[in-house]
Assembly symmetry: C2
Homo-oligomer: 121 residues x 2
DNA sequence: TTTACATTTCGCTGTATGGCGAAATAAAGA
DNA sequence: TCTTTATTTCGCCATACAGCGAAATGTAAA
């Protein structure tokens, strides 16, 4: 039950749901998500930590960057069904579509430059 | 998005999830759920109100009693899928099984007597 | 080594939420 | 009508949580 509630609590925040949907396009580093949402890096980090604890994202370290991504086929059924559920419910949501557009612009930018700008703020 | 977040926030409380699973057996009045969880009637009422706002339960008034039940076939897809999800995830959960046992005992009792005891507390 | 930098952790603040009991509401019964 | 009673609403308290900035951590570059 604890595990399941970790998932529902993780899904009970709009920014975390938006983050999960943004990750559909592939892995993202913290500063890319930070840029997308316009929140403080520490805030984004905390959100990702909560998603990670719930098993809703995986993480991969590459040098100084940490990339987050949606879990693979080996993820628990309850997790995959949760992700399918929000995907289906919000695929054509205006906010989510806007995030997708914004994300495209972010992905065109050099991640290194992006992160530098984030850190200077 | 607001609608969807109403659902995820409603599911982010363990007692509300337990209530939804208890309702699988059929409609229940407030005092029956109160008896099941051992919380104050006002607390249960608030929880049911939140589930109702999210569209996760329907209600039916019969005299002084108000019966709550899971939504029917006409419920939005996103709601039905949410209910299927938690049902599948927690069908064999110890807490949920214990609730089922307890619920059987409660359903054997006369609702009128049950409610009277609740209100005297 | 030092410095730079991406991310996390920590401490704090304001707001949201679960819990209760008391009062309000609404419907049945005396 | 006047009680009784099932439920809701309201006001309160304690806790949980999202947000930030500053400090800490760990890794790469100089």
């Amino acid at each position: 039950m604890r595990e399941f509630m970790n998932i529902t609590k993780a899904l009970a925040d709009e920014n975390r749901v938006r983050a999960l949907l943004a990750l559909r396009k592939g892995e993202l580093c913290v500063c890319q998500i930070t840029e997308l949402f316009g929140l403080a890096p520490s805030t984004i980090s905390k959100h990702l930590s909560i998603l990670f604890q719930a098993g809703l994202v995986e993480s991969r370290k590459e040098g100084r960057w940490i990339y987050y991504q949606l879990p693979g086929k080996n993820a628990p059924v309850v997790v995959r069904e949760a992700l399918d559920w929000i995907q289906k419910a919000l695929a054509d949501n205006p906010q989510v579509l806007a995030d997708n557009q914004q994300l495209k612009k972010i992905l065109k930018q050099d991640p290194a430059e992006l992160c530098q700008r984030q850190c200077k703020k």
